[in-house]
Amino acid sequence: MRTLRARLWFGTALGMGGVLAAFAVALYFAVSAALWSEFDEALVGRLRSLASLVEQDGDQVEFEAEEYALPEYEPSPHAEYYQFRRDDGRALGSSPSLGDDDLPTIDGHLAIPGFRFGALPDGRPGRLAGARFTARQERQDSDEHRDHKEHQGHDGQEDSGKQVAVGTVTVMLTVGRETAGVDRTLAWLRLLLVAGSACAMAASAGVLSWLVRRGLRPLDAVAGEIASIEAADLSGRVRAGEVPGELVPVVERLNDLLARLETAFAREKSFTADVAHELRTPLAGVRTTLEVALSRERDAGEYREAMGRSLAISREMQHMVDNLLELARADAGQLEVEQEPVDLVSLLRESWERFADQAAERGLDVTWQLPDACPVTSDGAKLRHVINNIFENAVTHADEAGRVTIALATPSAGGRVAIRVENSGSHIDEADAERVFERFWRGDAARSAKGVGRRCGLGLPLCRKLMTLLGGTISVTTSAGGTFAVTIALRSP
């Protein structure tokens, strides 16, 4: 029952079987009712015709059965029975087949006789009908009738008429007839219905199985299409146009999922490619520098220059690897925040020390807008990492002899502390501003930044990750004049 096919097949077969069985039972009962009603009508017919043979002549009740040939009541293996009684129980007459036996009296009228199943005197199963009626008065004034009767009597059965007392006489008549014919028909019908149903079920089980398989073929097709999509190439989609309506939502969801997976895989792939690229390029730099230096005898100055260049490159690589690892740890949720009291003003001043020389070398005009102190509770090391990255960006990307502004704004009470670092000479379009947080994204300006090593495009993405971890925010704004500003905001205690 694990497969849809089996479940559908079983369910449909069960339903069909139920309906078929109900139909067979209903048919059986309808036919049986019709047969019994026909049987009963025949019984009633016999009852009435026998009743019509009873006449009251004065106080005599005559039964004229002997005057007619009634072969069905003669003794035989298929004989039928009747018996007349007066309502006081005295027997009036009975069929020759009955012999000395009695039939039970059954209440009823000729219009609505009483019926009963029961064994016939000879033991056969049968059905009895009984009615109580008033014997017909013989018409005394009818000469014709009398003649006729005399004529009949003349035939030699004069003493057959029974003499009954004058007044209305109530006669009770019971007839009995074997039910073997109906029973046989019904037995046949039962057999027919059971066998027929079984055959129909067997045949329809086969047909159903085929139909279900055929009906589920689109599923197989979809499964085939899905199977043909491989992790290496997720560009394939399941064609929704060719599947049945019920599967369209499934296929659409699946395609959505595939699209998301493809994007994620592509991002992963390009990230790996970017990492490879960003590590290979400085590696090529250091290798070529050393190979060139070693390719011939040189004086100490030239060696020193080559070694200095190699050292600078390895520092860059270290910086990048550090950022990459920190980012990977942050992604994996392995960074823990240690809350401690931090004075943002001294943090900013201390961090700047590393960049002061470089800023002076590039002739940058640095403006400070700081309060005396700004104590917050945060993770000092992570904040320092963020601020170092922002300072490095500002000092590197500011144009030669440009401006750098470092401002700290404290809210009057509660709210957020904001640190804003601004530099001139940015070439980043407003449209690209948000892209600085994409890993390995670099504006052209960042690529051609001369003399100060290259930016690997991981600093700001890492800053955003760390600020989120610290419960703060980081955002960038650009202005038409080439000003690029990074703002970090922290909750103030």
């Binding site: 490619a273 490879a276 690229h277 960003e278 290979r280 390029t281 400085p282 590696l283 090529a284 730099g285 250091v286 290798r287 070529t288 520098t289 190979e291 060139v292 390719s295 011939r296 080559a306 260049r309 600078a312 490159i313 052209d444 300006a445 690529r447 051609s448 001369k450 003399g451 290259r454």
Partner: protein, 224 residues
Amino acid sequence: MRVLIIEDYEPLRTSLRQGLEEAGFAVDASADGEEGLWYARSNNYDVILLDLMLPEVDGLTVLSRLRREGKSVPILILTAKDTVEDRVKGLDLGADDYLVKPFALEELLARVRSLVRRGYDNKDPVIRVEDLEIDTAGRTVRRDGHAVSLSAREYAVLEFLAQKVGQVVTRTAIWEHVYDFHSDPESNVVDVYIGYLRKKIERDGQPKLIHTRRGQGYVLGRCD
């Protein structure tokens, strides 16, 4: 032989320039695609070393633009992108060779020399003119079995003449393939070097190999 480096990573650019110069090439270097394109259009380089991820105009665009403009200069792609996809794309856009960073300097130089030969339709690294043998791989010259010692610049002039053996080569062409933008040679510097070369390879009454075509330039070897 003159080489153009288009590479945005400054330390690599500097070292490459030094390595190539020390191997006897005249070298121009550019840090972005746009400037590189300008260099490539304004000079006849023997080989261009092209990085792919470049500011302004990316490497593949530089490549396809040069090819569309009919420049047949041999181009060696020098990149950190190493997937088969990237290589195929680069080669299909008209690059002649592809080297993944980081690379061995030796290999780079060998590939550049090979591309130079291909640019002049020479398969053999040893060019023979009469009894003069120029080994472009080892940068050695022999005449009649005897080694001839040449300065780097003299060798450069001779190699260029040898690559175009039997053809008239103008002074400007020699000048273009022997000097880079940074040098500021005297106007008659080519004639001066031809004079030095003649002294070294046509000694002791050996047959003349470098012929002057007045008003046109010079020819190495016989010219029809």
